[in-house]
């Protein structure tokens, strides 16, 4: 009897509770407990992936009840992959972030770990549940813990941006809840798989249409798709670094996973693309998101804000790709969930190291960083190349599938947007590299030292070793995932589409 689906979700919850207790009893042991919890969860997720890749989906009946009556956790290749991504990043981030967390909130870091683990519980739950209402509860856990942790960041603007995020998040979650309500009224069941069998008979009922629109709009709000993204830049740039490193790569990507899950298993591909005619409007929405995200990122002076807008741009990739209507576009979107999670994680790791040392993230303050923090900058450069889409790294390969899907679907505007956004990202990152490479740290603003040959050798002040090690692992995984993207696609994503 394989219990891995349950262990993946339960382990962080047990860890959170123990860390919660330990924060009152023995503060020292809270961090190791958190580390062990995420480690177990990561191991279970990997075992899940191996099992599912080998033997097909697992259906885990919670409480021993068969699906329509009880809640069922269905793990197939898609969410096994996403689960491994979530738990791996959670574990690595926890290992890398303790210096940052100790620096930012010395007096309450044990309970921060408890809240962090609750966030991980929410994410892993969202990625593995097979029940529509249970998904709402898990989305609430994720957002509740992210509201609090964002407010712990910047003294002046943290609470306000968290509050804005609360209002927008509640609207999003409630729309989704309403959509589930409409589904429940029409079919009487809350289980995804069973609802999928009922869809063919209810093809043309207006309620199912409104239910679909409500669910999708709710997920778009949580995903920060372009017109609804207003809360994201403030929330992610004023969050504490330890938390920004996990919310940036995962929160929006898991919501994209929910959208893909809604498209494939719940409503069914033929209902969405044949019955409804909103596919190409959503591809246009994706295109606008890509371009708007890129342009706004160009205008930023704060490095974290710039990366936040790049996330808005990446969301445009995935939404546009998923709605192209052919298997290549969907493969590209799913592969991009994995790649973009890794890329953003590596980027925010590097930014976290910079903040740990420099404590300022305005781009103009990053002078001479290649000399001062060479290893962090190499990690940052590798992640930047992956976002731009330079071949050895994984960003290129998901763009490859997305553009192919766009060609196949004849969506020239989407393909053009992808190319233009790669160029914009190139300009963005080289604007930062110029500041870091050319100006040596002690020259005053304005002109770099243009005297030939005379250079101050700057002492290397690197971030702590553990953060660098994790940044190294993230960097290497970027290239490895890139190289093995075909095995990922053929073994994990295509069986999904054919089923």
């Amino acid at each position: 009897m394989i219990h891995y689906p349950a262990i993946v979700v339960i382990a962080p919850l047990v860890g959170a509770l123990i860390a919660g207790i330990l924060s009152f009893v023995e503060e020292r042991y809270a961090y190791p407990a958190a580390l062990i919890a995420t480690g177990i969860s990561c191991a279970a997720a990997v075992r899940d992936l191996i099992y599912v890749a080998g033997h097909g989906p697992i259906a885990y009946h919670m409480g021993g009840w068969a699906p329509p009556m009880g809640i069922e956790y269905r793990i197939d290749t898609l969410n096994a992959m996403v689960l491994v991504l979530i738990t791996a990043i959670a574990f690595l981030n926890l290992a890398a972030s303790w210096p940052n967390i100790k620096q930012e909130m010395p007096d309450r870091s044990p309970s921060f770990y408890a809240m962090y683990l609750l966030f991980v519980v929410g994410l892993t739950g969202v990625a593995s549940t097979g029940d529509l209402f249970n998904l709402y509860v898990l989305i609430e856990i994720t957002s509740l813990s992210s509201y609090t942790m964002i407010a712990l960041g910047d003294r002046d603007r943290g609470p306000i941006s968290a509050l804005n995020y609360v209002f927008v998040g509640v609207i999003g979650a409630s729309f989704y809840l309403l959509g589930v309500g409409y589904i429940y009224i029409k079919t009487g069941t809350l289980n995804m798989a069973e609802f999928a069998t009922m869809i063919p008979t209810l093809q043309d009922s207006t309620t199912i249409l409104t239910a679909f629109i409500l669910c999708i709009v709710g997920v778009f709000i949580k995903m920060a798709l372009f017109p609804l993204h207003v809360w994201l830049p403030n929330a992610y740039s004023y969050a504490p670094v330890g938390f920004a490193r996990i919310v940036a790569p995962l929160m929006t990507k898991v919501m994209v996973y929910v959208m893909v899950r809604l498209m494939i298993t719940v409503f069914g591909l033929d209902y969405i693309f044949i019955k409804l005619h909103i596919a190409d409007t959503l591809v246009w929405l994706g295109t606008i998101a890509i371009l708007a995200g890129g342009v706004m990122a160009l205008a930023q002076t704060n490095l974290k804000k710039m990366l936040a807008y790049i996330i808005v741009c990446e969301i445009g990739y995935m939404v546009g790709g998923a709605w192209l209507g052919n298997d290549l576009g969907l493969t590209g979107a799913v592969l991009h969930i994995l790649n973009d999670g890794l890329m953003t994680f590596a980027l925010f790791l590097a930014v976290g190291n910079m903040v740990y040392k420099l404590d300022r993230v305005q781009i103009k303050d990053l002078k001479g960083l290649f000399a001062k923090m060479p290893w962090t900058m190499t990690g940052f450069v590798l992640a930047a190349f992956s976002i731009v889409g330079v071949p050895p790294t994984c960003g290129f390969f998901s763009k490859w599938y997305l553009i192919l899907g766009a060609f196949k679907a004849g969506a020239w505007h989407f393909a053009a947007a992808l190319i233009i956004s790669s160029l914009i990202c190139a300009v963005l990152f080289f604007k930062v590299f110029e500041v870091c490479f050319f100006e040596s740290p002690d020259t005053h603003d304005g002109h770099g030292s243009d005297t030939h040959g005379r250079h101050t050798t700057v002492a290397i002040q690197e971030a702590p070793a553990i953060s660098l090690a994790v940044l190294g692992i993230a960097g290497i995984s970027l290239i490895v995932v890139g190289m093995y993207s075909k095995t990922i696609v053929v073994r994990l994503i295509w069986p999904l589409l054919s089923s």
């Binding site: 071949p391 190319i419 490479f437 250079h455």
Partner: protein, 493 residues
């Protein structure tokens, strides 16, 4: 003609890559670091040479590394064209490594470890591009090369190199992502594969207008080939130290651009498709425009390295012109010119560097009468210049000879006229330098007659490359055989 499975190509690519951590770690001790560069250079050159006999008798060595998508995976395969280019790149790497020791120590440049490390990365990317079996592997190494050379071009980290670095990137990265990527994906979408094959991958499902658009996207996409509208990054990149300009901008970087265009013309489109659609003439026209205008601009350039840069742009378009003639002789001439131009132009860049190290002079107007002070450098400059112009005792003559035969074979009189006038222009902008260096009156000479050369480590590579381009005239053997073999592969089928 069969496919030998061997790991030699990947080893040749990995050796310079593997040596980088060693270089970085031995940063403190310069001599150890230089020794390691040499070991890497010699090892990879030996590996490349060991593959020559197998390639010469017609079969290809290769290996598939990572499957990326059905029909497009990262794979290396060495054929005649790839072998020729890899031989040039790896041999000149050793010579330039020696030269850069002399140059960098002569001017005690800062952060030499970073310089050497990125140099090795650039070379490994070049060899990788030479051995790539399909368009996606070529694109992969092309991108790595353009990003690896950015820190080399902007080595001085001052305002001027920042501006030229920005221009370098906008052109190279902009065109490669903006034009080549969509074009490549368009091909993959249309045909389902990106493997270079003699008969081209388009089996008829490509209409003329879309074929022209695709071809133009590729030609202007590979901005490293310096075709006219996208060439401005090359003169701007002259702000880099001379070893960088010498190897990268005379041999590695620009040659990868031209090499990719040839690969696309012969491997993706196929000679029959191009001649049937008449696209060869279009590319030839673009190339000839570049040749004439760049040679004309070179006349007016006073700075030594900028003049050499514009002459490189002209010479590169010779190679593209050769490939675009679609006649066997023309293509052989074009491919052979890769080698001849490489050795000739690198000599000239070495001379420029030597003069700068010895006298600190950059501008030609300040070099009147330099022959008295640095006769060895200037005679090597003469041989290099003659090879570029195409005069008999040097190797350049042979490739120009085949190019002219190619134009006659393809009965394109206009191209013949272009070749001859540009040779005249080459002579027009090289000979005055030599003349003023030696035959100037006592009053004008800016240097007294004392024999005072650049450091030995600079002059020796100078002399070696001059001698090689001289010997090529008599025994061009490995390269000529390779280019004829490559051409029979493309046309003969």
């Amino acid at each position: 003609m069969e496919f030998i499975q061997s790991i030699k190509p990947i080893l040749a690519v990995l050796i310079p890559l593997a040596v980088i951590p060693v270089l970085v770690s031995s940063g403190g001790r310069p001599n150890v670091r230089e020794a390691w560069t040499f070991i890497a250079g010699i090892l990879s050159f030996a590996l490349v040479v060991s593959m020559v006999p197998a390639v010469l008798d017609g079969n290809r060595i290769g290996l598939t590394l990572f499957p990326i998508a059905p029909g497009a995976d990262i794979a290396l395969s060495v054929d005649a064209l790839g072998m020729l280019f890899a031989l040039v790149a790896s041999s000149l790497y050793i010579i330039t490594a020696m030269y850069s020791i002399g140059y960098m120590r002569g001017l005690n440049e800062h952060s030499q470890t970073r310089f050497v490390a990125f140099f090795a990365l650039a070379i490994s990317a070049t060899i990788g591009a030479a051995f790539s079996a399909n368009l996606i592997t070529l694109y992969l190494f092309y991108e790595i090369l353009s990003l690896a050379t950015y820190p080399l071009v902007t080595h001085h980290q001052d305002e001027k190199s920042k501006v030229s670095g920005r221009r370098y990137l906008t052109f190279i990265l902009g065109t490669s992502i903006g034009l080549v990527l969509p074009a490549m994906i368009w091909c993959y979408h249309a045909t389902g594969t990106l493997e270079f094959s003699a008969a081209g991958i388009f089996t008829g499902q490509l209409s003329t207008p879309s074929a022209t658009v695709l071809l133009l996207m590729f030609v202007f996409g590979f901005a490293k080939a310096g075709i006219m509208p996208v060439h401005t990054w090359l003169p701007a990149a002259m702000v880099a130290p001379t070893p960088v300009s010498a190897l990268l901008h005379a041999v590695a970087v620009v040659k990868v651009g031209v090499f990719s265009i040839i690969r696309v013309l012969t491997g993706i489109f196929g000679v029959e498709l191009l001649s049937s659609l008449g696209l060869g003439g279009l590319v030839a026209f673009i190339a000839s425009v570049t040749i004439l205008t760049s040679s004309a601009i070179a006349l007016s350039q006073d700075e030594f390295k900028r003049r050499l840069a514009y002459s490189t742009i002209g010479q590169l378009s010779y190679i593209v012109l050769g490939a675009a003639l679609l006649s066997p002789k023309g293509m052989t001439g074009g491919i052979l010119h890769i080698t001849m131009h490489a050795f000739g132009k690198i000599t000239l860049f070495f001379c420029a560097g030597a003069i700068y190290v010895a006298t600190g002079k950059k501008y030609l107007s300040q070099m009147v009468g330099i022959g008295y002070r640095m006769p060895v450098t200037m005679t090597a400059f003469l041989i290099g210049a003659m090879s570029i112009i195409g005069l008999p005792p040097t190797g350049g003559f042979i490739s120009k000879w085949y190019l002219v035969l190619g134009t006659l074979e393809g009965d394109q009189a206009v191209m013949l006229f272009v070749l001859l006038t540009s040779s005249l222009l080459n002579a027009a902008y090289f000979m005055p330098i030599f003349y003023k260096a030696f035959f100037c009156t006592q009053a004008e000479a800016m240097f007294e007659r004392k024999f005072d050369e650049a450091p030995v480590m600079c002059v020796v590579p100078l002399v070696i490359t001059a001698l090689i381009s001289f010997i090529f005239f008599f025994v061009p053997q490995p390269f000529l055989k390779l280019s004829t073999l490559a051409v029979t592969g493309f046309t003969g089928g």
